[in-house]
């Protein structure tokens, strides 16, 4: 007896017949009729006309019938809100039923009826159910709060259900805890700024206990919630890791991956020399490998995540290359992902194996896969230098197969190999040239043309080859046209005598017969260069090219860090931050700091988690292509917006400077390298900070260590503790040539946006040039912020000293300082640390000093100097004791320099 019988009645009077059956006296007949109705509903037939009749069946003791009616109600209540009210009474009554199953069922169904009028009636029963004695009812009610929130968020807040839900996190039953966490997480998504899941060590402990006892799905919710927590120190971090590790052996892959996320995030906090750190790394590999033996869809998600993990921590899977070998019956989406990871794991140790595999793949059937495999061989050559020769010979073998798309891919990658290893493999050019005719894809044609142009002097018939391309110039794609233009100009510069005609031809094709502005402009530039100054033309066109980087497709480090925090989510599948694609983005985990400046809106993201150890400034700029343009225009826009407030401020400071009679000799720390050239595509930045005549200045030395000219410099700070911000644009007006150095001094204001940093004097900086945007962070001596009017009246000093609680006093030792108190006092004054009084007690000089910071904070100090003792003792008192440490460092630096 099957349900298909319910579909057999397709006659016209079907609805009437059902109506009659629904109103039948016989229970059995009624139930059959409701089943028929449900069956029609599931396949999308409209049976809403039967609403009153079905609702009439609700008053029954038969649980199955009740459930069926509830199913129907959930589907149609929305379209029949007035009718649905009829059902309310039954619901309210059922919520009081002695059977917990019925109570739970009623509250569950009520939440699914998405009708505003009904939700009002739901509040009271729901409140009772949240406190029900039976955990089954409580856990159902917890989910119901999420449902209600989806329908009417305001109501849920007004009724205080959110607090009740938060209380349930401490429930005695793990299932209830899990559901409460799940419901809160869902609600939190639409409330980015609420602290719904404000975790503290106690609640973390509750969650970890529940983690061991709840269902697999509950474990996922709890783990995802744990991942949002920031442990206080490495010890807490380790203890959480220890309690999460057993989840790696769970049969449910989603549990495993969520556990991996927690571990990947928290192990950032563990010291690398800790034994446990090594153990943890070892434990992560097997579960990841196991995920690859699951169903293909799971494999796909796992592989996307592994791709992130191997970029962040390549050591975890470095010995597991073989599990990523492609099986011929893997779905294509799995194959492509595996290939990607193989390249990432390729190293000198395993390159032979990898190459053998790649060669195998290059003969497979699937065109996309074969292309990627060929490309991968090229990437291996570029990544592992020792293998380059073998890779090239493999590629040549593949070219011999004459399979069209293989040849084309091979030529594209060989071009890159030439770039990476100049003057090494040019002997293969002859072989490449043989295949000229078979190239029909723009990318391959462009690559081939590039090769011919680049090595024109070694190819005897380069002019003929290029001429053959020129015939169909206007049918080529822009990529090929541009490349052809450049190649012929190169050829002309190398062999001017024979190719005059050719170059004329291409220039006129590009400038006169083309309506592509890029092509036309490039044509004109070449034309003018060639006609005015052939030597300069040579320098420009045949300039040495910068090296290409080893790894391609690497995810930018800060984005990678963010994605690591999102392991297992959709973000990790798309390799994009959630804000980039999730509707109504959840700001909960994603901390972005918009720093508005003029029209160019630069977002320097703070590191997702300030405890992540990376010393680099986290950063991602806007993300839209328009961004580049905005930044380019920055120098002209920024002063307008920034100068106004700063201009006034500067005047004031100058006045003050005059008044105090600014002494020379303010301490300036030596210049240090802030941004090494390696990390910034050839741009090296070193610098220091100085306070000159009351103006804070950032003194930068920019060195261009790359091959190409750098222009369009601009600078931007992240929010910082004292609101430092550039008071004007970065004055680099002339382009910076290769190996050229320029010193710039950038005046700073202290009226920028404020955010507390750790350490306090940390400054995160973004510098942009025509090549890219780079990030670094540096620390400025806090003495830059000591203002010139920092001398306190004696009386005020005494009163303030007493007024500040003793808890705020901190004591430090300054060792090996051989100045007497007089000299020390003079030296300190140079950095705006003013001595107010001096007292001598038993051969010990006590100096009382005051300092005022640019943001108005006063720091009072007592310095004890004992004749003959090189160790000073200093006590600092301040209403903001956080600054003491920095101030002390300043004392030390000033006194010792």
């Amino acid at each position: 007896m099957t349900d298909s019988k319910y579909f057999t009645t397709t006659k016209k009077g079907e609805i009437f017949e059902l109506k009659a059956e629904l109103n039948s006296d016989k229970k059995e007949k009624k139930k059959e009729a409701v089943k028929k109705v449900i069956a029609s509903m599931t396949v999308g037939k409209d049976v809403s006309a039967l609403f009153p009749d079905v609702v009439n069946c609700m008053q029954t003791d038969n649980l199955e019938l009740k459930k069926l009616v509830y199913l129907y109600l959930m589907n149609y209540a929305k379209s029949q809100p007035d009718m649905a009210i009829m059902a309310v009474n039954t619901f309210v009554k059922d919520c009081e039923d002695p059977n917990p199953l019925i109570r739970a069922l009623a509250v569950r169904t009520m939440g699914c009826i998405r009708v505003d009028k009904i939700t009002e009636y739901l509040c009271e029963p729901l409140r009772k159910c949240l406190k029900d004695e039976d955990p089954y009812v409580r856990k159902t009610a917890a989910v119901c709060v999420a449902k209600l929130h989806d329908i009417n968020a305001q109501l849920v807040e007004d009724q205080g259900f959110l607090d009740t839900l938060k209380d349930l996190i401490s429930d005695s039953n793990p299932m209830v805890v899990a559901n409460a966490v799940a419901a809160l997480s869902e609600i939190a998504e639409s409330h980015p700024n609420s602290n719904l899941l404000d975790l503290n060590p106690q609640s973390i402990n509750k969650l970890l206990t529940a983690l061991n006892e709840c269902t697999e799905w509950g474990q996922i919710f709890i783990l995802d919630c744990l991942a949002n927590y920031t442990p206080r120190d490495d010890r807490e971090s380790q203890s959480i890791c220890e309690r999460v590790t057993p989840r790696l052996s769970h049969a449910n892959s989603a549990v495993v991956l969520s556990a991996v996320k927690v571990l990947m995030k928290f192990m950032e906090m563990l010291p690398k020399d800790l034994d446990y750190y090594g153990t943890l790394l070892k434990k992560l590999a097997p579960p990841l490998v196991t995920l690859l033996s699951a169903e293909p869809e799971l494999q796909y998600v796992a592989l996307r995540n592994i791709n992130l993990i191997v970029q962040k921590r390549p050591e975890i899977l470095k010995h597991e290359m073989k599990v990523f070998f492609v099986k011929y019956n893997d779905p294509i989406y799995v194959k492509l992902e595996k290939l990607d990871i193989m390249i990432r794991l390729a190293s000198q140790a395993n390159i032979a194996q990898v190459l053998a595999e790649l060669k195998e793949y290059a003969t497979e059937v699937d065109v996309d896969f074969v292309r990627k495999a060929v490309r991968a061989i090229g990437r291996c050559a570029i990544k592992v230098e020792q293998s380059a020769e073998r890779c090239v010979s493999t590629l040549l073998d593949l070219i011999q197969t004459k399979v069209n798309y293989v040849v084309q891919e091979a030529i594209v990658v060989i071009k890159d190999i030439f770039r990476k290893y100049p003057n090494k493999y040019e002997s293969v050019i002859a072989t490449l040239c043989e295949n000229l005719d078979s190239l029909d894809e723009p990318e391959a044609r462009a690559a081939m043309i590039w090769i011919v142009g680049e090595y024109a002097e070694r190819i005897d018939n380069a002019d003929e080859l290029l001429e053959s391309f020129l015939e169909g110039f206007h049918d080529e794609s822009t990529q090929v046209q541009l490349q052809l233009l450049t190649a012929i100009v190169k050829l002309f510069l190398k062999k001017p005598t024979e190719t005059q005609e050719l170059v004329q031809q291409v220039l006129s094709l590009a400038t006169q017969d083309s309506d592509n502005p890029d092509l036309r402009d490039r044509g004109y530039i070449y034309w003018r260069l060639l006609s005015t100054d052939p030597v300069a033309a040579k320098e420009v066109v045949l300039a040495e090219k910068p090296l290409i980087s080893e790894e391609t497709d690497l995810i930018e480090p800060t984005l990678l860090e963010e994605l690591i925090c999102h392991i297992g989510t959709l973000a990790s599948v798309y390799h994009k931050p959630p804000s980039a694609f999730v509707e109504g983005s959840r700001g909960v985990m994603h901390k972005r700091l918009p720093a508005r400046t003029g029209s160019c809106n630069i977002l320097i993201m703070s590191k997702l988690n300030s405890s992540l150890l990376s010393p680099q400034l986290g950063g991602d700029i806007g993300g839209s292509p328009a961004m580049g343009a905005g930044f380019g225009a920055a120098p002209t826009v920024m002063p307008a917006s920034l100068n106004a407030p700063v201009g006034g401020g500067l005047g004031d400071l100058f006045d003050l400077g005059g008044g105090v009679g600014m002494p020379m000799g303010a301490y300036i720390p030596p210049k240090t390298v802030w941004l090494p050239a390696m990390k910034a595509k050839g741009l090296e930045i070193s610098g220091t900070f100085a306070r000159r005549a009351g103006v804070i200045q950032m003194e930068l030395v920019l060195t261009n260590k790359a091959m190409s000219v750098m222009t369009d410099f601009a600078i931007q700070f992240n929010r910082n503790s004292f609101g430092l911000a550039p008071a004007g644009p970065l004055q680099v007006l002339t382009p910076l040539g290769p190996n050229q150095t320029i010193e710039v001094s950038l005046p700073l204001s202290t009226v920028g946006p404020v955010m507390k940093m750790d350490p306090l004097n940390n400054l995160q900086v973004a510098v942009k040039n025509n090549i890219d945007v780079f990030y670094f962070s540096c620390q400025y001596p806090i003495s830059m912020l000591f203002v010139e009017d920092g001398k306190m009246e004696r009386q005020v000093f005494l009163a303030t000293w007493k007024d500040i609680p003793n808890d705020n006093e901190s004591q430090f030792q300054i060792q090996d300082c051989h100045l007497n108190s007089e000299a020390a006092s003079n030296k300190l004054q140079g950095s705006n640390i003013f001595t107010i009084a001096k007292r001598t007690v038993e051969g010990q000089d006590m100096l009382y000093m005051s300092i005022k910071l640019s943001n108005g904070i006063w720091v009072l100090a007592e310095l004890k100097v004992q004749a003959g003792n090189p160790n000073y003792t200093i006590s600092l008192k301040c209403r903001a004791p956080e600054v003491s440490q920095c101030v002390f460092q300043c004392y030390e630096a000033v006194l010792k320099n």
């Binding site: 799905w217 989603a254 169903e295 197969t401 989510t569 798309y574």
Partner: protein, 418 residues
């Protein structure tokens, strides 16, 4: 969380939809159908698809697409695991998972889906729990139900749902108390032309069928647990004891379940039970080729290899084949170009061989790709990794159960490249 579920057959027809939150229009599936059109094989449809307002996460299983619609950031693995659970549930309840079966039990499937999720949150996904709430159909029961008017829906609250062992129902009673364990190992391997192992690993699983009364507490120990360095357990297994003593201690669910899965690493040497000598070659000129395949036993630990089957996807340009097999029989489907050679038991004295000629379509070039051979095999009473169960102890109940362990080795994804 999970918003909606659609079941779609290979021709693209939606035959079941279920919404756990607001109703999502069917038209959302158009994005999926578009992706399906683009894919060459149904297996190749990408599992995660992004549409302007929703995400579509799908699996392809038993020739059906299970497509879920989600609106917020939800772990995709969570959704995929759940979809597989739905497929398993249908299989479990109705014996198979197919369009016909679902259509035949539409209302029950619908009720089950309602029990599995609430507002998109998983509610009851354990087969034991579900079966107590909604009893699976049997011929006898449907007859009884019609006569007495009772229903398939349980009306008591399940004790299992709330206890800390949600996988086991209370009050289990059997007259014969039995516990059976099957250790099943699958060899995944890639061999290259010369027979060298490129990659090999063993995927193992311990399937259990436990029919014991009351609340038995079992302990299963292995002779050589060190072999297993990577294991995943059923939630019932106490992980701490495994960590410290390397024994599996658990209160089992009632009936059939997967106790644990493991894999034996590629680093350890994996015994390859058969070798394959093959050559598939095409002549440079003319339109002919030859195929010659021989299979022989290698490391079989003295057991017989049975159920040997060789599957070859021949190149598309093959017109016809003419082969002779010394043992077993072969079938060839010219539409899919699939050659299947069913050998059966492997006799070490007389090695089975399949040879003959292949003819290409007139004028077709020499095929570029090399077909791979897929091998199927079975070895009874052997776990190829060498894993052995030591003993099974039962605590908590007085009776003496009947115990049994069976080993079997199979080929998983076992490929030979040519």
């Amino acid at each position: 969380m999970i918003n909606s579920l659609f079941l779609i057959n290979p021709s693209g027809e939606m035959f079941l939809e279920k919404h756990w939150k607001s109703v999502v229009s069917r038209s959302v599936c158009d994005y999926f159908l578009e992706a399906k059109e683009k894919a060459l094989e149904p297996e190749d449809v990408p599992p995660v698809i992004h549409t302007p307002h929703h995400y579509l996460i799908s699996i392809y299983r038993d020739k059906l697409f299970f497509l879920s619609v989600i609106q917020t950031e939800v772990p995709p693995l969570f959704v995929i695991e759940f979809l597989h659970r739905v497929a398993e549930m249908i299989q479990d309840y109705f014996g198979e998972c197919s369009e016909t079966v679902v259509k035949d039990h539409m209302v029950m499937v619908y009720e089950l889906l309602e029990e599995m999720l609430d507002n998109g949150f998983p509610l009851a996904t354990e087969s034991n729990v579900l079966k107590e709430m909604i009893r699976p159909p049997t011929i006898l029961r449907s007859v009884v139900n019609t006569l007495t008017g009772t229903s398939n829906v349980g009306d008591t609250l399940l004790t299992g749902q709330l206890s800390t062992i949600p996988w086991r129902r209370a009050g289990v009673r059997y007259t014969n108390n039995e516990a059976y364990f099957d250790v099943v190992e699958e060899i995944d391997a890639i061999l290259d032309q010369s027979g060298t192992t490129v990659f090999a690993e063993i995927q193992g699983v311990v399937e259990a069928c436990v029919k014991l009364s009351g609340m038995p507490d079992l302990t299963l120990s292995f002779m050589n647990p060190r072999l297993l360095d990577d294991v995943s357990f059923h939630p019932c297994v106490r992980y701490k004891l495994w960590e410290s003593e390397r024994v599996l201690s658990f209160i089992p669910p009632d009936g059939n379940f997967t106790l644990m899965t493991y894999h034996v690493n590629a680093q350890n040497l994996v015994a390859i039970p058969v070798y394959v000598k093959q050559s598939i070659s095409f002549f440079e000129c003319g339109s002919d080729g030859r195929l010659d395949v021989t299979v022989g036993p290698k490391q079989t630990m003295g057991k017989t290899v049975e159920g040997v089957m060789v599957t070859v996807h021949l190149p598309k340009t093959i017109l016809s084949i003419n082969l002779t097999a010394t043992q077993g029989s072969y079938t060839y489907d010219n539409g899919t170009k699939l050659l299947v050679w069913d050998i059966g038991k492997l006799n070490p004295q007389k090695l089975p061989n399949l040879r003959g000629s292949l003819s290409l379509q007139a004028g077709a070039p020499k095929p570029e790709e090399n077909p791979s051979l897929n091998i199927d095999l079975k070895i009874q009473q052997l776990a190829i990794s060498g894993l052995k169960v030591n003993r099974l102890d039962m605590f908590g109940e007085k009776y003496k159960p009947f115990k049994g362990v069976k080993y079997i080795t199979k080929a998983g994804k076992f490929q030979v490249r040519t």
